[in-house]
Symmetry: C2
């Protein structure tokens, strides 16, 4: 049976890879062109066929009207490495540690694979949580003891928010774009940030940024002939969403040599190649600050990007979820809307969608699933279609909606919580900056590793210059070399990172993404474990 499943998986992979390669626009071999597919997909398919049988029973014994051969091929094609095979393996090791703590050469799994700050000990901002608790249980506002447990401004803010919700009903579906009053607060926050007007009608509150991205992909992608320009390396939400919606990812490569610079010439080149292949390119994705690359775009570069989109008629999809995460004094976050407006471009000049999330920044409230997209420049007919798709899912969760309004309108000077809020916020951000610097230096100290400056976001994306012997060993195990490295790193240190092949990268280069999120007191031990592992690895595979 095993052999049968393995053979079927092989056939499927062949089908998937040959299908996928028709999307490609960079001239290279099928394997190196799709290191991502060719590695993680092979791994995961084989993984399924050999995983311990669950309560579901095995495929030889049941009629199985639903099998890998007859599900939606777009689902098979989609990959999301941030929670992929390496994480499954980490979870298995964690279970093993629980059962038998002495059985592994480390005593805990360190999840550096995902931007999930509170899972690594970051504490939530007190003011935000006070307001959420009061909105969840508004009866508290009538009790005298509440004044002893909550800050005055959290009580005031919760009362104000409840007054904006029809019937004070935090348990009711809201307007499909989100509660109007909260959207007005967010629009005011955007105005204060940018110095240009924002409109509550342009805000769509979402369960984190991801559903917003999916919604736009669903709108723009009608067939494989519709393409989206995406940075490479990219956050794999984009490749996954494009695959699920049946479009074509048109890659543009960030230039590692210039600190992951975004070159307009490269955009033009890739756009033209795609067009000559019959692809209608609909949008350009820009992630700023960058994920996984951590760069912060220069203002002048942003202006060029805006002009490019305007000239080429592309929707600019601006992933701006790391807008609070800038760690270097010479760089500053500017929203693309601010850039466009400061160039004199209004609604009629550019289609622009900005994504924001409560999961990142100093707040790091990933579990609350809050966020919004600001949709500007679209005609009212198309906007109604976006609204319709939002309405099929009724609305995003109200707790996340409230939190999205809070991050765009935190305590102000004079508010009771202001000093505590600032101390919490600045403590988190300055610590993140220190951690980024320490890890960056540690990576650059390793033999055969180069790592760009972490200007922003929550990640480092060091490049691995691996010895040929290691590359051969990876090939023998049918995994990408960086996946091979990451797997070894996990097995020997408990540190979980995501192989660069999960984000795509220039063919023949190898990287991994590591978050800067472990708490500061753990960083020295991580650096030690990583350094020792790397030395051992290089010694083992030195050519």
């Amino acid at each position: 049976m095993r052999r049968f499943v393995a053979e079927r998986a092989e056939r499927l992979i062949t089908r998937i890879v040959s299908h996928s390669s028709s999307h490609s626009h960079s001239p290279s071999s099928s394997y190196s062109r799709y290191p991502f597919l060719a590695s993680s997909q092979i791994q995961s398919l084989f993984l399924f066929s050999s995983s311990p049988s669950t309560s579901m029973g095995s495929s030889s014994e049941s009629p199985h009207p639903v099998t890998l051969t007859n599900i939606n091929p777009k689902v098979l094609e989609c990959q999301y490495a941030v929670r992929g095979e390496i994480v499954t393996q980490a979870e298995r090791l964690q279970e093993q540690l629980k059962r038998n703590p002495e059985s592994l050469p480390f005593d805990e799994i360190l999840y550096c694979n995902i931007g999930n700050p509170q899972s690594l000990g970051q504490q939530p901002i007190t003011f935000f949580r006070e307001v959420l608790a009061l909105c969840d249980h508004p009866n508290l506002l009538d009790k005298s003891e509440t004044g002893k447990l909550f800050s005055g401004d959290s009580i005031q803010r919760a009362s104000q928010i409840l007054s904006q919700i029809p019937g004070r009903a935090t348990g009711a579906y809201s307007h499909s774009q989100g509660i109007k009053g909260l959207r007005e607060t967010i629009a005011a926050g955007i105005e204060a940030r940018d110095g240009f007007p924002a409109n509550a009608n342009d805000i769509f509150l979402t369960d984190g940024a991801s559903p917003g991205v999916h919604m736009m992909m669903q709108l723009l992608l009608g067939s494989q002939q519709d393409g989206i320009l995406c940075p490479i390396p990219q956050y794999p939400l984009y490749s996954a969403s494009i695959a699920l919606h049946g479009g074509t990812l048109v890659p543009y490569y960030l230039d590692e040599a210039t600190g992951w610079g975004l070159e307009i010439a490269e955009l033009k080149n890739q756009l033209e190649t795609a067009r000559s292949n019959g692809i209608t390119v609909r949008a350009l994705v820009v992630i700023n600050p960058g994920n996984p690359t951590g760069q912060v775009l220069a203002e002048e570069n942003q202006r060029q990007i805006v002009d490019f989109c305007k000239k080429e008629g592309l929707v600019l999809l601006a992933d701006e979820v790391y807008q609070e995460n800038v760690y270097v004094p010479d760089k500053e976050f500017h929203s693309f809307k601010k850039i466009a407006r400061s160039m004199g471009y209004g609604e009629k000049d550019i289609h622009l969608v900005s994504f924001q999330s409560v999961s990142k920044g100093y707040y790091g409230e990933c579990g609350k699933r809050g966020g919004y997209m600001e949709v500007t420049g679209f005609g009212s007919e198309v906007r109604e279609q976006i609204y319709k798709v939002a309405s099929v899912n009724l609305c995003s969760n109200i707790t996340g909606q409230i939190l999205a309004s809070l991050i765009m309108s935190p305590p102000k000077v004079g508010d009771e919580s202001y000093d505590a809020y600032c101390a919490e916020r600045d403590g988190i951000l300055s610590s993140l900056a220190r951690r980024a610097k320490t890890l960056e230096a540690a990576f650059n100290n390793l033999e055969g590793v180069t790592c760009n400056k972490a200007e922003g976001a929550m990640y480092l994306f060091p490049r691995l210059h691996l010895p040929q012997k290691a590359i051969k060993a990876a090939e023998a195990e049918k995994v990408a070399p960086d996946a091979f490295y990451a797997r070894r790193l996990l097995q020997e240190t408990g540190i979980v990172v995501v192989p660069g092949s999960g984000f795509r990268q220039v063919p023949g280069t190898w990287h991994f993404r590591c978050t800067i999120l472990p708490q500061e007191d753990k960083i020295p031990a991580i650096v030690d474990r990583l350094t020792n592992f790397h030395k051992k690895f290089m010694n083992e595979f030195r050519d």
Copy 2:
């Protein structure tokens, strides 16, 4: 310009309708076969072209790289009447009332279009909200005042839940299926309900039931050749999701004459017709208790359905979100899993997905977006694919996850909150039963209206036997006759109902869906307004 837009909309509609009619399997004219498309789509497209211009500017003045002609046609095709044109109109009237309260013949809009209990004044269950507030702000658990504000068992439950969350971090992304401990609580709740084992690994926590339904449609629908058997009338999430995922809705008609009975002969007939048209039918959707029809399936009927799915190799998609909403003593809710297991069928015999939500029942927590699907019978390879799709969106919101665990494990005898909890729950459910009965009787008292017994769920679906003159007047306005009736009802009474054409129905019959959710003290006035309106309407259009 107006004329241009209108003409373009006309062309689009022609394209959409001709495209859609290739999906159809019931022999009738293109118009009556797609009353839903032919009415609301026409209306809404024209509505967009005539709606007041927003900040976006009008299409004649901007380059508009994104227009109705080049967006994903599946998005255009999708319709969701529950929040469709009639609701947009209601919102406009509500704004008008706010500005000028004397300008309309009523003083408030009554939203009977959607199952949104707390928007109409239903109060949340205190225990649930206490637990949520404590989990949102766990610092409260360390303060002595908390004991005066919260019940002892809510404190205990919150502590227990926090201990199940790694690092007590309610702000962290969880496992993509949801927090393990909460899934275990839910599985235990299912076991207690059904008397058969449930497995935490089979539970996928979701932001309400809708994302779970989308996930299954995404998995099963690879092309237009893949079909899903759906009841007609149906909750339009199903038609919308099938349209968005590019599959084919294979209708089976519920029999209004036998209280919206589900006949196996009809299922077989429609399945065979679909197959002879080259459709591979992948799944059967059953909504029990029914939406919009309110019927509760008999046990024997459920056994036949299970056998049908087993024999035909169909996935049974069981929408069981109204499992607590049964109002008649001679009917009882049985989950399909319980039915299947009681017939001796195990994992290997049937693929079954059960959807549950925190939005319905006596809890009615729509805004919290919590829910789960229990996925059984699938092979581990396919289950890994479902997991992968779930992981692209990281996880559902933690507040909703906690609430989903609470509704499946409410206070028990002996708990401090038990009596208060029972009083709140029973108060809501018995009031809903009274409201259902009163409204049912009121509808049956109207000339030319017949209304089946509301056995369960939150809706009545009365049938309108309209005079020919009314039907002609509707045709003149290019709307379905029931949409015409609903629009008039809104304009004259402020009551919002959803036209039956939004749910699809036997061609040539007309209905509307009305929730039973307005608070009890408002019901007499609603009955009055409705009765007076109906008399006037019938007099106006009497043949």
